[in-house]
Each structure stands twice: as structure tokens, then as C-alpha cells.
């Protein structure tokens, strides 16, 4: 059931501010130098370097059990005010607000204290800011590369404002591209650091970056003993495309929605919405209600197609190709309806800042209603049988456990988190578009395994069908697009949606001349991928693909850095006798 912002009966946390203003006071007491409500649902606090960790610790304590790390954004503000900034976005789901904790650093050898020791989910965001902007985070437990390849030259920071977006690495002074070798030197070191002797006992199976089981490039190194995974290391960001830089360099505010839509081939529209919401909030643009409803309908249609796609992939990985075919056949109707409504099956192109470009009425509404009936019936019918097949259930029950504590600590979001008992859903916690007008039934399970993730998504498919019907019923008449003048520059905005995979956050700082100064999209898979090594430890080799797939990973969503044409795959010599040891006869 949807919880109204501000009310809570869990008994957690000692602070219960009834409004943003009240929240502001709490934050001031915790040590914030400056507190500003940037727009509904978002409070920006400026904290000095010295007080940062204490502030975050205080925040975690006051909002225990609900403060969740959403994302962190490093920004080069040197052209405007001579400093760098790191903005940590922390979600308070019960309160229904986002706290933007901004810390500044000087321009020369910028450094900021790391908050990862107190808030582990900040790990990747700080490493990303370090890679792309060169900000050092004092006290970070794993200060190694994340986004950029290991042989990327030092001192070259792509997201700094003095790095032109079309600069090639070969043109940078002092860089010899020919000598870049392409061997990873540092791996994402798991807390259990392995001694050289320990490594000899295990065979390592490299999986990726290209592998038939994977739909996008990603790299896992699995340490196995026989058929059991002892440890796993992950390295991603192979599909980095320089989108943030592109949007900040040569695009206008209304061109970015089309770029945002192409972050992902499955959940593109949710990115377009999150971006537009961020700009609309920053600029104070009120989107007409009818447009909000149309956005919501399309967002749920996207959720339908995404979940059905995922079901197909999951069945395929379980060897049940008949299930794969069935799911994608059912999904085909959703795609056709999307094409009829928007002009394209996947890149809807419906959003501009301020509203939507097309209407949904008349014959299009009947198309949607017919599709919903068909999908509901066929999906329920097929799953009723498929989820009873013993060999299928046996492979997902009690497999890939992610405990509730781990899910919370690592900042898991979406169906993945909800399958581990976390009741979080942006549609209910921080309502956006037209979700404020209805109640969303949030599906939560607590068996923490792959089966739970399947069941959560199953319920969400049926819930999406119900939501679309509700939206169609309640949709008011009205304009499709707000009228507005030039977008005011240097305003901060946070746009958040519940993508099919979880919370999707876009942080925007508007720029001069209808442009964007900083754009940081943080896709849900970014958080969920961090949970994979934890889930893989102790599992059988055969379970690895389905566990990875159970988070519904979207690597294209996660990566948005500069692509460098250097091989990053590693080849290990497998000692055969190690693999034989422990193999059952």
C-alpha cells in the first residue's frame, strides 16, 4: 500500500519532520552550513569538508533504516566559481525527500573526505568522480579505477570543463596510445583480499566481456572450486559512451531528452522522464496534468515490456526456451501498441521539457485496453503452468540469496530490493508524474532468492496492467505542453522515477543559453550490480547466469563514460588439475 509522505509506523528513526522546512531544521542541527529547498522533494545542504563525515553519520543515525544512498555527482564548477563540488544524493524514503549534500573543494589538487567508510553504497560514486574529475577522496577504502580502463593515463580527466568533448586521447600531450597495453592491473578488490597462495587453489573462470550468456559486455571473474563459486569480481563500464559530456557540451536542453532516451534500449523512456522532471523542477515549470497522465501510461507500458522481456531472458537462461518464446510473444503486443501510440516500438520520443508531444485518445485508447486484456490473460495463463515445472522452480528457489541487511547496506533498489524485503518504490515514496493521484500496490517478498525476484516482477506486471487502466480512467482533458520562456541558468534539479529495474535518478544543473551545465543520470542497475559478488559467493557455477540475470541488469544504463579502443579482457591460464579437484565423479 502507498504510504503518504511523512507518516510512518515502523518506529524506526527518531526524527519525523512533517515538512521540508522541518527537515531543513534537522539538517541544520546536524551541521549543515546552508540549507536550501531547491524544489518540492529536494533539499540542498552545503557542508564543510571538516564536518562532512560527522554530518553523514548524524544523518544516518537520525534517519536510521531509511536513509539510502542514491547517487553522487562530481561537478567542475571552476569556470563559474573556481571550485569543484561533490554532491551526494541521499534518499529519505519515508519522509519522501532527497537530501543533496554538497561539499566544495579548491581547484588545485582537489580532495574531499570520503563518506564510504560510513556509507558503503557511496563507493562507486566517489570512484567515478575520481576517475572523471580527478577529485581525491581521503579515506576511501578502494581508490582504484572504476569507469576508465586501468591503463588510462594519469592526469586526463574527461568531465573537467577544460577537456573538450571531441578530444581524442591520441591528441593529448604526453600520451602514447600505442603503448597502452589493455591489461587490467587493479581489480575491484573484494573485502576478502586473497593471498597469492590462496589463489593457486582455485581456478578462475573469466566470463566476459563477451559471452553467449551475457547480452551486454560485462566482465566477471569467478573463482571456483569444482562447481562452487568461492569469490567473484566484477568490472563493467564497457559500454560507456560519453553521454554526460555530450549533453553538457553541445546539446540544448530540449535535445537531451532524445539522448537520455537512448541510454537504454529497454528503459529509455524512464530516463527521458527523469531528465525532464529534473529540468522542470529546477526551472519551476509546471507540466499540465494531462501530459503527466500520458507520461505515466507510457511509463507503465514500458514497465510491461521490460518485465516481459526479463521473464523471457530468465526462462532462456534456465533452458526453458518455450517459456522464452511465449513471454516475448506476449510482449509483442505491447511493442505494437507502443508503436501505435508514439511512432516507434521503443524510442518513444514523447518528451520535451514541459510536457509531451503527442496525445493519447480515441482509437489509441481502445488499442491499449485491448492489449491489456490480452497480456493479462496470456501472461497469467502461461506463468501458472510454467512456474510449476519442478526443474525450473528447483533452480531458483533458495538460490542467489541477498539478505535484507546486505540489500540495504549496498543500496539495492527496485524489484531486486523488494524481493529482499525492502519496501521501497519511488512511485509510492516520492510520487512523480501522475502517481500522486492514485495508490500503487508495492510488491514485496522476503525470501531473498531468485524465486522472490520472479514473483515480485510477476505481481508488478499485473499491477502495471491495473495502473494503466486507472490512468486511462482518471486522465483529465487539457494541454499537452507547458509554456515557458528561457530556462533560468544554474538551478539544481533532481528527477527520480521508478524504472522497471528500480530507482532512476537524474541530477541536473541548468546552464546558460538553454543548455545543461551538469547532467548525471544514475540508473538502478548501478546500485544492483554492486550486490552481485555478494550473491555469487558460495553458489554453484550453474547458477551464476540466472543469479546475475535476476537483478535484471542493464549495463547500457549503468555505463556512460568515454569509450577507449583498448582491449580490457584478461586471459588466465587455467590449471586443469585445479578444476578436476573437487569435481564429482
Amino acid at each position: 500500500m502507498r504510504r503518504a509522505s511523512g507518516s510512518d509506523d515502523s518506529g524506526k528513526g527518531s526524527v519525523r519532520p512533517g515538512s521540508l522546512k522541518g527537515l531543513g531544521e534537522v539538517l541544520r542541527e546536524l551541521g549543515a552550513e546552508d540549507v536550501r529547498v531547491v524544489h518540492a522533494g529536494a533539499v540542498l545542504v552545503t557542508v564543510g569538508k571538516g564536518r562532512l563525515r560527522g554530518f553523514v553519520e548524524g544523518l544516518l543515525k537520525s534517519f536510521e533504516g531509511e536513509a539510502r544512498y542514491s547517487t553522487g555527482v562530481g561537478t567542475d564548477f571552476r569556470p563559474l566559481e573556481g571550485s569543484y563540488a561533490m554532491t551526494h544524493v541521499i534518499a529519505l524514503d519515508r519522509v519522501g525527500a532527497y537530501v543533496l549534500v554538497e561539499v566544495r573543494s579548491g581547484a588545485v589538487r582537489p580532495s574531499i573526505p570520503s563518506i564510504t567508510p560510513v556509507m558503503p553504497a557511496a563507493n562507486w560514486a566517489e570512484r567515478e568522480a575520481r576517475d572523471m574529475l580527478g577529485i581525491e577522496f581521503d579515506g576511501h577504502p578502494e581508490p582504484v579505477r572504476l569507469i576508465l580502463p586501468d591503463d588510462w593515463p594519469e592526469g586526463v580527466y574527461p568531465l573537467r570543463k577544460d577537456f573538450p568533448y571531441d578530444l581524442k586521447l591520441s591528441e593529448v600531450e604526453g600520451v602514447d596510445v600505442g603503448r597502452m597495453v589493455g591489461e587490467p592491473r587493479n581489480f575491484s578488490v573484494s573485502p576478502r583480499v586473497r593471498s597469492p597462495d590462496a589463489e593457486v587453489a582455485y581456478a578462475s573462470i573469466p566470463m566476459g566481456p563477451y559471452h553467449p550468456a551475457l547480452h551486454e559486455p560485462e566482465y566477471y571473474e569467478l573463482y571456483v572450486e569444482g562447481e562452487r563459486v568461492v569469490d567473484a569480481k566484477y568490472r563493467g563500464f564497457f559500454v560507456h559512451r560519453g553521454m554526460e559530456k555530450l549533453a553538457e557540451s553541445r546539446m540544448t536542453v530540449n535535445q537531451v531528452p532524445f539522448l537520455a532516451e537512448r541510454i537504454c534500449g529497454i528503459c529509455g523512456y524512464t530516463h527521458a522522464c527523469a531528465y525532464c522532471q529534473a529540468v522542470e523542477a529546477a526551472a519551476g515549470i509546471e507540466v499540465p496534468e494531462r501530459a503527466l497522465f500520458i507520461r505515466s501510461i507510457l511509463l507503465e507500458i514500458e514497465r510491461l515490456h521490460s518485465h516481459l522481456l526479463w521473464f523471457g531472458v530468465a526462462f532462456h537462461l534456465l533452458g526453458f526456451d518455450t517459456g522464452f518464446m511465449a513471454m516475448w510473444r506476449i510482449r509483442e503486443d505491447v511493442m505494437r501498441v507502443a508503436e501505435a501510440l508514439t511512432g516507434n516500438r521503443k524510442t518513444y520520443g514523447m518528451n520535451l521539457v514541459g510536457g509531451v508531444r503527442r496525445d493519447v485518445r480515441g482509437e489509441k485508447v481502445s488499442l491499449v485496453t485491448r492489449m491489456l486484456g490480452k497480456v493479462e490473460e496470456e501472461f497469467k495463463g502461461f506463468c501458472r503452468n510454467a512456474l510449476r515445472l519442478s526443474e525450473v522452480v528447483e533452480r531458483v528457489k533458495e538460490v542467489g540469496i541477498l539478505t535484507r541487511e546486505d540489500a540495504m547496506k549496498l543500496g539495492a533498489v527496485g524489484p531486486h530490493a523488494r524481493a529482499s524485503g525492502l519496501e521501497i518504490d519511488v512511485r509510492a515514496d516520492h510520487p512523480y508524474a501522475a502517481y500522486g493521484f492514485i495508490d500503487v500496490n508495492v510488491a514485496v517478498k522476503d525470501s531473498c532468492d531468485v524465486l522472490a525476484r520472479i514473483l515480485v516482477r510477476y505481481e508488478e506486471v499485473l499491477e502495471s496492467v491495473r495502473l494503466i487502466r486507472e490512468f486511462l480512467k482518471l486522465m483529465p482533458e487539457g494541454e499537452l505542453m507547458a509554456e515557458y520562456g528561457e530556462i533560468p541558468p544554474l538551478r539544481v534539479g533532481v528527477g527520480v522515477t521508478e524504472a522497471p529495474r528500480g530507482e532512476d535518478v537524474h541530477y541536473v544543473v541548468t546552464g546558460l543559453g538553454n543548455r545543461v551545465y551538469r547532467w548525471r543520470p544514475r540508473a538502478p542497475s548501478y546500485m544492483n550490480l554492486a550486490t552481485v559478488p555478494t550473491m555469487l559467493r558460495g553458489e554453484r557455477l550453474a547458477n551464476v547466469p540466472i543469479i546475475i540475470a535476476s537483478i535484471d541488469p542493464c549495463f547500457s544504463c549503468t555505463d556512460h563514460a568515454v569509450v577507449v579502443d583498448v582491449r580490457t579482457g584478461a586471459r588466465r591460464v587455467i590449471k586443469l588439475q585445479n578444476l578436476l579437484r573437487g569435481c564429482p565423479p
Binding site: T252, Q255, A326, E332, T347, G349, F382, R384, A386, L389
Partner: protein, 165 residues
């Protein structure tokens, strides 16, 4: 039993494979396919170029012509060009079978004759655009449309300096 039902369900219903490409496929009304420029309507104003997110549309001045160029290889079929064009000169068709063997076949060009400035004789804007603008201006200002921006500025400042009340 569930297994049997899965089988029966599959066998009792029709095959869903489409016959395409051995039979044509219908795309719905409103499908965003290849954009086409109507050379008789385009004035070379550049609104589409400003709006185009991937820079598929471009405008260059080549000698006596202003060339509006659309490169389908970059097009994302968003339809912003169609939306912003003041003269409905560019529209999206429903064509999606766009593979070609020569990239030159992906380019549409409209060559517009440039008007020459009545004062200095330099080409400054497409003639059609100038005419369209001129017909919208009040009589006393119409002559300004036939001047290039530099000469227009000079003329306008004369008006300001030597205006008679």
C-alpha cells in the same frame, strides 16, 4: 500436468511468425520513418538544424547556394525537424527499409539560390526566405529585407541617427 498444458497450449494455437520479408509488413499511422524534405517549400531558415539532436541536418553556404543537407545515417527519427519547420517542408514518412549500398544515397540535399544584397552585392540568405520575410513586413520596412545583415545595420543606424519626427 502443467507440462502437458504448456504443450497443448502451444500446439492448439496458431504459429505467430510473420512472413516478412517475404510479405510486406504494415506500420501504423504516425510511425516515424524517414524524413523527406520538399525542395519547393524549404526556405533554408535552419530551424530544423537547431532542433536536430544528432546533427543529422546541416546548412552550409556553398558558392551561390545555401545547401540544406539531411544525412539519414545520423537521423534518429525523432521528428523534431517536422515539428519545428514553419513551412511544413520536412515531413516524416513511414519508410523504414533504408539500407543502401552507397552512403551517398542516404543524403538529401536542397540547394537554394541565395539572394544578393541590394547594397553590397554579397549573397546573404536564400532568395525564397528573403521573399517570404519581405511579404510579411510592412511596406516601409520591406526594402530592409533585401539587404544583408551588415548593410541593414548600417541603414538602420542611419534611420536612427537621421530620423525625422
Amino acid at each position: 500436468m502443467s507440462r502437458l498444458r504448456v504443450l497443448i497450449e502451444g500446439l492448439s494455437k496458431d504459429v505467430v511468425t510473420e512472413k516478412y520479408p517475404y510479405a510486406p509488413v504494415e506500420v501504423p499511422e504516425g510511425f516515424r520513418g524517414k524524413p523527406v524534405i520538399d525542395p519547393s517549400k524549404c526556405v533554408g531558415c535552419g530551424s530544423c538544424v537547431n532542433a536536430c539532436p544528432p546533427n543529422a541536418l546541416s546548412i552550409t553556404d556553398e558558392g551561390p547556394y545555401r545547401v540544406v543537407r539531411l544525412f539519414i545515417g545520423r537521423c534518429i527519427f525523432c521528428g523534431r525537424c517536422e515539428e519545428v519547420c514553419p513551412f511544413n517542408a520536412i515531413t516524416l514518412t513511414r519508410e523504414f527499409e533504408l539500407a543502401v549500398t552507397d552512403t551517398a544515397d542516404l543524403v538529401q540535399e536542397v540547394k537554394l539560390v541565395m539572394a544578393r544584397c541590394a547594397a553590397c552585392g554579397e549573397p546573404y540568405a536564400p532568395l525564397r526566405e528573403v521573399r517570404k520575410v519581405a511579404e510579411r513586413l510592412p511596406d516601409e520596412l520591406r526594402a530592409l529585407a533585401y539587404l544583408c545583415p551588415k548593410c541593414r545595420e548600417v541603414m538602420a543606424s542611419h534611420y536612427v541617427s537621421f530620423a525625422r519626427r
